[in-house]
């Protein structure tokens, strides 16, 4: 496979050099964090009053964790480490689940972020020759602007469509021979299901690569997308607290996402004991920003679950790889006492060829018991017209789910396009059980 790098020296630097750089930057970021009211109080209590208290990378363990709630409490400027005149951009979270969180960026922060995104793009084999249609929302959501800047930096031809307006998306993909898209997996599947209606087929497009992010999805969904659209799909990971996209991205080998460790220190911890877990073992992902000026964050608990790959990647990058996000510490469902992650359900149903591109997980109360209803759209090309085949499909989904999550769900089959469609992040779980 062709090996291309955006910043070869940094991406392939030896682990020792990388660790030395991490320590140097960690010491700088501690001093910057101490300029914020929040970290001043928090680090002092932990006995850290400056970079002199950080002598090795292990000393990071003395630093207390930062949580989403901390960020909310600091709203709007408790975590601002620079003068507002040096801030060039503000991103806030939507605040749908509580007080919003805010991340400030200086000019240098934006430049560093852009550099990381450029590395991600080149790692997938894309270049300035590609036409890039960005179907993530622009504005406050970091997915749109983050990739936009990186793609322009690489020199790609950028179509800043944002999300939504499916008909026009398809038309432009066709007219400008789009080769790379950045999109949520659920929206890409929706676009696929609308192709025919818009008078196009997959072979009318020039699509080669899809960058998928902003929502968790299973390996089977990736396979489905790659087969249906005849593309290579790359997994992207980012969160607004860590800039947004560009934190970790898959290279051409598509086995785990390289985390840019000169910009972030990654830890994986047991969410209950808070102790670090070894490579290959799943836990909560924790990041420390190493280069950020305006909003330095130390040991930020992402609530995302994943693991670090132990082995080296054939692409030559020395930056370690993070697994696909297997769930979130806060999206676990407890159904009649059994822990279930929505990703487990997706994994099962997306493996079945007669299942279409959209599904929904509904939880209801049936007397005292929880009832799990899985609604799936059927894949129209697999429909042969027999009632028996539909009953068999329903039975298979039920049986596969029961075997995987040990819960007996009821399964509903729906027409394609009848379940709610999301143009941004998909909301697949509808929990209408009364909260205690």
């Amino acid at each position: 496979m062709k090996k291309a790098y955006w910043n070869e020296a940094q991406e392939t630097s030896s682990r020792n050099t990388l660790k030395r750089l991490q320590l140097q930057r960690l010491r700088q970021v501690i001093d910057r964090a101490l300029k914020t009211p929040f970290y001043k109080a928090r680090l002092r209590r932990a006995g850290i009053s400056g970079s002199r208290d950080i002598k090795t990378l292990d000393d990071l363990k003395k630093v207390p964790f930062t949580t989403k709630d901390d960020l909310r409490e600091c709203y709007p400027d408790g975590l601002l480490a620079v003068d507002l005149k040096d801030v060039v951009r503000i991103h806030t979270s939507s605040g749908t689940t509580g007080t919003p969180t805010v991340i400030y960026h200086t000019r240098e922060d934006i430049a560093n972020w852009t550099e990381l995104v450029a590395r991600c793009i080149v790692a997938t084999g894309a270049s300035s020759k590609d036409v890039f249609q960005n179907m993530m929302s622009y504005g406050m959501f970091t997915g749109g602007l983050g990739l936009h800047y990186g793609a322009e930096r690489v020199g790609m031809t950028v179509i800043p469509m944002g999300s939504g307006n499916t008909r026009r998306q398809i038309q432009l993909m066709h007219d400008f021979k789009t080769t790379v898209v950045h999109i949520t997996p659920s929206y890409l599947l929706h676009i696929y299901s609308k192709l025919e209606e818009c008078g196009f087929s997959v072979s009318d497009l020039c699509l080669q690569k899809a960058y998928l992010g902003a929502e968790p999805y299973s390996e089977n969904t990736r396979k489905k997308i790659e087969e249906l659209l005849n593309v290579d799909a790359y997994n992207s990971y980012g969160l607004s607290e860590m800039n947004g996209p560009g934190v970790a991205f898959e290279c051409v080998y598509k086995r785990g996402m390289h985390v840019w460790e000169d910009a972030y220190i990654m830890e994986v911890i047991d969410p209950h004991t808070l102790q670090e877990v070894p490579a290959q073992e799943e836990g909560e992902i924790v990041f420390t920003t190493l280069t950020r000026r305006a909003t330095p964050l130390l040991r930020y608990r992402t609530r995302d679950l994943g693991f670090i790959y132990k082995d080296e990647c054939k692409c030559g990058r020395t930056h370690r790889r993070l697994s696909r996000i297997t769930g979130r510490t806060d999206d676990m469902l407890i159904i009649n006492g059994v822990n279930v992650y929505p990703s487990q359900i997706e994994e099962v149903i997306m493996r079945i060829p007669q299942v279409g591109t959209n599904y929904q997980i509904c939880l209801e109360k049936d007397g005292a018991l929880d009832k799990l209803v899985v609604k799936v759209e059927i894949y129209s090309k697999m429909f042969k017209g027999e009632l028996g085949e539909l009953d068999a499909l329903r039975a298979r989904i039920k049986e596969d789910l029961r075997a995987s999550i040990i819960i007996n769900p009821s399964v509903e089959l729906h027409e394609p396009g009848s379940l709610p469609v999301f143009e941004g992040k998909a909301k697949r779980v509808v929990d209408s059980r009364q909260k205690l």
Binding site: E196, E197, I378, S380, F383, K384, G385, E386, L387, L390, D391, E412, L413, H414, E415, P416, G417, S418
Partner: protein, 143 residues
């Protein structure tokens, strides 16, 4: 000779059947026979129409899940015992009927029966041997 029937997957949801029929009406497609098979929350609408290829294309374009299925249509006298006489022939010859539906012709004394067999070819041979007339595509168009 086999005929094709259109099968449409429909959720049990108000107005869905109306949408299919009004769409076919707009496309000037005439429905010759129709039946609905239903399960708890979905059903399959089965139709014999004068232009099945055009009908399926129109349905798919509007996002319906539709497919074509081979069926055999037979003409019988519209009188007591007409259906029984045909079913007797199938029974004697071990032909299994998966499902069937019927309709009556306007301007004759014949009824038309639509059959889905698990082995259509065998059924056609048996019908021919018993001199039971099978309806072809042309006949459907001119009905």
């Amino acid at each position: 000779m086999k005929l094709v029937q259109i099968s449409v997957f429909l959720e049990n949801k108000q107005g869905r059947l109306f949408e299919v029929c009004s769409l076919l009406g707009k496309e000037k497609i005439n429905i010759r026979a129709l039946s609905v098979a239903e399960s708890e929350e979905f059903g399959i609408l089965r139709m014999v129409v004068d232009n099945p290829t055009k009908a399926v294309a129109a349905l798919k374009k509007r996002g319906f899940v539709a497919s074509l299925t081979d069926i055999v249509a037979v003409e019988v006298d519209d009188k007591p015992g007409g259906l029984a006489s045909i079913l007797g022939v199938f029974s004697k010859n071990n032909i299994n009927v998966e499902y069937m539906y019927g309709f009556v012709e306007k301007f004759s004394d014949k009824a038309i029966l639509v059959f889905r067999f698990d082995d259509a070819n065998k059924a056609i041979k048996v019908l021919a041997r018993n001199k039971i007339s099978i309806i072809g595509e042309k006949d459907i168009k001119s009905l």
